[in-house]
C-alpha cells in the first residue's frame, strides 16, 4: 500500500468561480453531503488515513526566522490566497491509479446547480521506507 496526499486550494475553476456563500443553500448541502459520503466510502474501503479542512486564509500566517532574532510573522490578507491549501485527504491505496481515481471523484464534487466544479486536485505520493537495497 502507498500513501498519497490529495490536496486542494481555493482557486476558482472554469466551471465554478463563485464563493460558496453565493451558492444556493441546497447546492451547499449537496456539496457537503458529497464530501462526507466520499470520506465514509474511503473509510469503509480501508483507504482513508485522514481528511481535514483548514481554517480560512484570513487566519493564515507566514513565519520566517533567521534563528536568532525575533521571527517575522506575516498576517493575511494575502494577494495569492487562492493558492493556499484549503484541505487535504490522505489515502493509503494499492496503486497510483487508485489515488488518481479518488482524486477524480473529489474533483467532480457538485457545485452550483449540481454541476461538477472540476477543482484541480494535487496528487502527491508520501515518501516511505526504502523499497530495497540501493
Amino acid at each position: 500500500m502507498t500513501k498519497f496526499l490529495l490536496l486542494q486550494n481555493y482557486a476558482g475553476t472554469a466551471a465554478c468561480d463563485l464563493p460558496m456563500t453565493d451558492w444556493a443553500p441546497g447546492d451547499i448541502k449537496a456539496h457537503i453531503d458529497f464530501q462526507l459520503a466520499l470520506n465514509a466510502e474511503l473509510a469503509g474501503n480501508g483507504e482513508l488515513v485522514e481528511a481535514q479542512g483548514l481554517a480560512g486564509p484570513e487566519l493564515a500566517k507566514f513565519v520566517t526566522s533567521d534563528g536568532m532574532g525575533a521571527p517575522v510573522v506575516t498576517d493575511g490578507p494575502f494577494p495569492e490566497s487562492k493558492e493556499l491549501l484549503a484541505g487535504y485527504r490522505m489515502v493509503d491505496v494499492e496503486s497510483e491509479e487508485r489515488a488518481v481515481e479518488i482524486a477524480a471523484r473529489a474533483s467532480a464534487a457538485p457545485g452550483p446547480g449540481g454541476v461538477p466544479i472540476q477543482q484541480p486536485i494535487e496528487v502527491r505520493q508520501v515518501m516511505g521506507a526504502p523499497s530495497g537495497d540501493l
Binding site: P19, M20, T21, D22, W23, A24, P25, I28, K29, I32, D33, L36, N39, A51, G53, A55, G56, P57, E58, L59
Partner: protein, 417 residues
C-alpha cells in the same frame, strides 16, 4: 480497556482509590501511576475469563504494589551496582485524609500544569482511561499523548506537591482549577460532537462522571453542583444538536422533543439544591441560563427577560466579553435588534476578529431586516471560524439570505450552544 461495560465502570471507579493507596505507601506519584495502569490492564485481561475477584480493590492494590516492589528492587540493584546509597523509604501513611480520589484530582489539576497536561493526567490518573483512549479522544498519536502525560507527571514531581489535601485558600483555588479542567473536558467532547468527531462525545460522558463523583464528595459546594448541573442541562440537548448529515442545528431550530428529559430533571434538581445553599457562583448562573432554555417547550416560550437578567449578573461576575456577547443576543430578544446591536459596539475591541462577534452581528442585522449587512457579517464569520460544522452553518446562512429564501428564524447566531 477491552473489558465489558460493567467491568470497565468498576475498574475506572476503583482506579483513583487504588492509586491513592499506592501513592501513600510508596510516595512516588509518577511510578505509582504507571503501576496502577498496569494493574488495571492486567485486570481487564484476566477478569473477564477468570471472574471478578471477591475483593477487586484489594486485587488491584496487590497487583500494583507487586509492580512497584519489583521496580524498586531492580532500581536498588542498579544503585548498588553503581555504588550509590539505596533509599526507598516508603513515606508515612497520612491517615488523616481518607479521600484519596479528591486529593488525586487536586494533584492532577495543579496550576503548575498547562490545561492540556492537566486534562490528560486527570483522565488517566483519576478517570482510569488508558493513554491510547485519551489520545484517540484528542485525535493525536498515542506517543504524543504518552509524552504529554509523562511530562505532566515530571512537572508535578519537580514542583514537590505533597500528596495531601491543600488547606484554606490554596484548597479553594485548586478546586477552581479542578472545575475548570472538568469544564474543558466536557466542552472538548460537547463542541466536537458533530460529524466525523462523534466518538469524542465520550469525553463529555467522562466529565459528567467525574463531576458527579466530585459532587458526591463535596455535596455542600455550590459551584461543584453548578458545574454538574450545567453539564447535565447542556448535554440533555445533544440528541437535537445535529442533523442527519452531522450538520449543526442551533438552539432555536432544535426539535425539543429530542431533549433528554431525564438529564434535564436531574440538572434542575442539582441546581435547585445548590441555590438553596446560598452563595451563587459562575457555574451556577450558567446552569440557570441552561435551565431556562431547557424549560421552554417551544423556542417562542423562552423566558428571555430572565435570561437577559442572568447574563447581566454573569457579566458583572466575570467581566467576560463572550458573556457580554450572549447578553446582547438576549437583549435583542427582549428589547429588539437595535438594542442588541448597540451593545455589540462595545465589544469591537475586546473581541476584535472573533467570528462569534460577526455571527451575532449578522443575526441581529437579519432580525432588523438589514439583509446586505447580515450577509456581509455571516460571510466574515464563516471565513474566520475554525470549526467545520460552524463554517458550513454560517456559509449556509449567508447563502440563504442572499438567495432571498429567508426562513422564520430564532436566535440562530449561537451555533455553539
Amino acid at each position: 480497556m477491552t473489558a465489558g461495560p460493567g467491568l470497565e465502570d468498576l475498574l475506572r471507579e476503583l482506579a483513583p482509590q487504588v492509586l491513592g493507596v499506592v501513592i501513600r505507601r510508596f510516595g512516588d506519584f509518577d511510578s505509582a501511576e504507571d503501576a496502577v495502569q498496569e494493574a488495571l490492564l492486567a485486570a481487564a485481561l484476566h477478569w473477564p475469563a477468570e471472574g471478578v475477584p471477591d475483593n477487586p480493590r484489594g486485587w488491584l492494590i496487590q497487583a500494583a504494589v507487586r509492580r512497584m516492589t519489583d521496580q524498586l528492587r531492580s532500581e536498588q540493584a542498579r544503585r548498588r551496582r553503581e555504588g550509590t546509597a539505596a533509599r526507598a523509604e516508603p513515606s508515612a501513611p497520612d491517615v488523616t485524609c481518607r479521600d484519596d480520589t479528591l486529593v488525586l484530582l487536586f494533584m492532577c489539576c495543579h496550576p503548575a500544569l498547562t490545561s492540556a497536561s492537566a486534562i490528560a493526567l486527570t483522565l488517566r490518573a483519576v478517570g482510569g482511561l488508558t493513554t491510547a483512549e485519551i489520545a484517540n479522544a484528542f485525535l493525536v498519536p498515542e506517543a504524543t499523548m504518552a509524552q504529554r502525560i509523562s511530562r505532566a507527571k515530571q512537572r508535578i514531581r519537580d514542583s514537590g506537591v505533597p500528596f495531601k489535601m491543600p488547606d484554606g485558600d490554596e484548597r479553594a483555588q485548586r478546586l477552581r482549577s479542578v472545575l475548570h479542567v472538568l469544564y474543558l473536558v466536557f466542552n472538548e467532547g460537547y463542541t466536537s460532537s458533530v460529524g466525523a468527531d462523534l466518538h469524542r462525545t465520550e469525553l463529555s460522558g467522562e466529565a459528567i462522571r467525574l463531576a458527579r463523583m466530585l459532587h458526591v464528595m463535596l455535596p455542600g459546594d455550590g459551584e461543584v453542583a453548578g458545574l454538574l448541573a450545567l453539564m447535565l442541562l447542556t448535554d440533555a440537548r445533544r440528541p437535537a444538536r445535529t442533523g442527519a448529515g452531522g450538520e449543526l442545528i442551533p438552539l432555536a431550530e432544535q426539535d425539543r422533543t429530542l431533549w433528554d428529559r431525564r438529564l434535564i430533571a436531574e440538572g434542575v434538581a442539582v441546581i435547585t439544591g445548590a441555590l438553596a445553599a446560598g452563595v451563587v457562583g459562575e457555574y451556577q448562573v450558567q446552569a440557570l441560563i441552561a435551565a431556562v432554555h431547557d424549560d421552554a417547550a417551544r423556542v417562542e416560550d423562552t423566558d428571555w427577560p430572565q435570561i437577559l437578567a442572568l447574563y447581566g449578573l454573569l457579566e458583572r461576575m466575570t467581566g467576560n466579553p463572550m458573556v457580554a456577547l450572549n447578553r446582547a443576543v438576549a437583549a435583542a430578544m427582549v428589547q429588539g435588534p437595535a438594542a442588541g446591536l448597540k451593545l455589540l459596539d462595545a465589544l469591537d475591541e475586546p473581541l476584535a476578529g472573533h467570528y462569534r462577534l460577526d455571527a451575532v452581528r449578522a443575526h441581529l442585522y437579519e432580525m432588523a431586516g438589514d439583509v446586505p449587512a447580515a450577509v456581509a457579517h455571516y460571510r466574515a464569520a464563516a471565513a474566520r471560524t475554525t470549526s467545520i460544522p460552524e463554517q458550513q452553518y454560517l456559509t449556509t446562512q449567508a447563502a440563504r439570505l442572499r438567495a432571498g429564501t429567508a426562513q422564520p428564524g430564532g436566535p440562530a447566531a449561537r451555533p455553539a450552544t
